[in-house]
Subunit: 445 residues, 2 copies
């Protein structure tokens, strides 16, 4: 977002060097393994999970509205009537009946698909992993929004991809920047394998790609023959009664669409999917079989029974209301409490607000003080492959109550004001020890 | 097994060339994807799944003895009482209580472990995938038994490993051949990353590594500093009242142990695990998070409740009786019906018999005729990375009834006898069109 110094930048692979002297296996790991590093802020999050801390860091959906009696009874029936199927191995591509239902679930975003082109995956994270596996050789370029989903960046890194970020604004990915990025990467002799995008209710940016821009992005990618991986876990979770039309709805060859039941039903089942052109789908299934043999029949049939026997869309509407109330609480609290110089996105769906701090404040350096003041967030650097994002943070409103959200924002505003005072009194050095405000910090995710 | 011409041979990567003209994405796939090919015999298996065909090809456990009422009611309780946990995201390493229970489950094979060293995976296939992911660079060597598990070979191929097979006999892996293979691979300047072994009730060979040889294999690997991946899905499914002691029981640093609930409870849950040295475990969890974020809480807690609230070991004993009865039926039928010159292993546990045909008969070339005669098996070539195994086949006795097993063996014996007659009448050319009897055929799995 705003602190991007240029429209497209190469990944610096800052975390490439790793391996402690305590790990006697370090010489045997694959090259890719050296890019797999635990988050620097993981230990802080252990503290942040204490009940007295308001966590605006997590991305857990708020499933407290789920009808547990309905789910319990349908699972009981499932085991009684179809236990021999639900507890047995199944197809690597996923349950045929569920794949048909998934086609129905994609209708509201404008997609008309055939069940043969759907591959059921262990959450859409596995779809992301499999797509990366079949397309990426080390050094290949993936274009991704700046910022992008932290889980995707981890997967891309584990396949030694080079992520090139493309700037966004309040209307999502900027088409001109996309064109420029494609040209620049190709001029440098690199191979672009795909554009990874979350057009609707972006994680972490909280913005949505406009309809006009979707058409432009698709046209640019067609012209340049760049595949689009459209990740759409939040598509049905808009607050304004509109469901954004998927890019995939207008092109079945250029776009691989990833969906998930984690936000519309329950993440603990780990059921997601990929909708891909036929030839790609065949490769996805082979890769899935190598990876897990088949997705859990037990989870798949539970989702299938839930979709068939319950008004799942009414539940989605309930979820929307829950999240809208929390989004409202967060935006109101930010308006009321944030100091001058901070600015943030206004999500019309999904789980996240992207907040950029007043000039000179480093979100990662500030995190320990925030946790001490009993509020947690994810520093913006987690969402960049190249260390940028230090002035920003992701705030999630999906899980805490509106009251807790307001209290969390109040505590956060206090910490930011203290940082600003420190900076006013002692200059940049006093506020946070770091080389430069907008320069890449250490890689972190 | 017997038709191995040499103790260790390099993978020929016969399937490297792929991609039809119909696949317009073929130029964009990663190099690894070109090694992912569908089984040549897949279309035959579609025919083989017809009810009139006796399938001795599958590896599906026979779960008809599972107490569905117990499972249904415990899942209903689980959703009612712990639904918010069972349906939510969980730890990437897996549920802590289940990891403790897994340590109890490993006690009968002699393993004393700490829950911190256990990573829960989406079936043990995912454990295999993650281990391969963190250790294997393209071209690295994996030592594996000849024959080896087809699903492991697929995974190894997808990471561009070079598999070197090591000969087995009726007592499992031959230690001298292992030493020779290590020396030969290293003399050729290649890097060995690990030995992959299924010491107990081998799939597909149906043999068990003796206790004395386990000690030898471990000592050889210690001396040569070669990690051992011990895959043990069948360890508790022995028919003689003995549970073989795991290699891991005697070394926690040299051995990564893979376990599964697919054969002791139910495969449809997709719950397996890896027990690994601490440093490796950390990498496994990072790789798992990149792959699926976390294993399904719903499945994990179902397994956990089943282990806690049900006499799971009594169920395992029931399974043993089921499989023993079927093993007996198969061995008796083979003794009664197989023509002179065929020989086979005598499994003391697990699911599989490895049958080697009379000299001059090719199991893969014969498969269409077998399916026409309403019996199916998996040709031996599926279990080699290098095209060997053409004279052998895997017969599974886990799923059909004893009567069906006997009928299947009868039909198989007929087909073999017809092949032998053809061969006696017309010579090798008439029996099967192929370059040479023991030469590698096309890669297939």
């Amino acid at each position: 977002m705003s602190q991007q110094p240029s429209p497209h930048r190469k990944s610096t692979d800052a975390a490439a060097a790793t391996g402690s002297r305590l790990d006697s296996y370090v010489d045997r790991y694959a090259k890719r393994t050296h890019g797999m590093t635990a988050s620097e802020v993981r230990s802080l999050f252990a503290v942040a999970s204490r009940p007295e801390v308001v966590s605006l860091a997590g991305g857990m959906p708020n499933i407290s509205g789920l009808p547990l009696d309905v789910v319990g009874s349908l699972v009981n029936d499932l085991v009684a009537k179809r236990g021999m199927t639900a507890l047995q191995y199944g197809s690597g591509q996923g349950d045929p009946a569920l794949r048909e239902q998934i086609c129905d679930v994609m209708r509201p975003v404008g997609i008309v698909a055939h069940p043969d082109d759907v591959t059921v995956t262990v959450g859409s994270q596995q779809a992301l992993d499999l797509v990366t596996r079949i397309f990426i050789d080390p050094g290949d370029v993936i274009l991704a929004e700046a910022p992008s989903y932290v889980g995707a960046l981890g997967t891309f890194r584990s396949y030694q991809a080079s992520v090139v970020h493309v700037e966004m604004d309040d209307h999502g990915l900027v088409p001109e920047q996309l064109s420029a990025a494609i040209a620049a990467v190709r001029a440098a002799g690199k191979t672009i394998k795909f554009l990874y995008t979350i057009p609707s209710y972006h994680n972490p940016a909280g913005v949505t790609l406009t309809a006009a821009r979707r058409a432009e992005v698709l046209e640019i990618c067609r012209q340049a023959d760049v595949l689009i991986i459209e990740d759409d876990p939040y598509g049905l979770l808009g607050f304004d009664g509109e469901v954004p039309r998927a890019i995939r709805a207008d092109d079945g060859e250029q776009v691989i669409y990833l969906g998930s039941f984690s936000k519309t039903f329950a993440p603990g089942l780990r059921v997601g999917w990929a909708l891909a052109p036929h030839a790609v789908r065949e490769k996805l299934v082979l890769a899935a079989e190598n990876s897990v043999l088949c997705p859990p029949a037990f989870s798949q049939l539970t989702v299938s029974e839930y979709l068939a026997g319950h008004d799942w869309m009414a539940q989605v509407k309930d979820f929307r209301e829950t999240y809208r109330e929390r989004r409202d609480a967060m935006l109101e609290a930010l308006d009321d409490l944030m100091p001058e110089g901070a600015h943030w996105t206004k999500p019309s769906g999904g789980f996240y607000v992207w907040l950029t701090l007043p000039d000179g404040i480093d979100a990662k350096a500030m995190l320990p003080r925030a946790v001490t003041n009993r509020v947690a967030y994810v520093p913006g650097t987690a969402f960049f492959a190249d260390g940028f994002g230090s002035r920003s943070m992701r705030l999630s409103y999906c899980y805490p109550t509106p009251e807790r959200i307001r209290e969390g924002v109040r505590r956060l505003a206090q910490v930011i004001e203290q940082e600003m005072e420190l900076r006013a009194t002692f200059g940049a050095w006093g506020a946070a020890q770091r080389p430069g405000l907008d320069a890449p910090g250490p890689d972190q995710s």
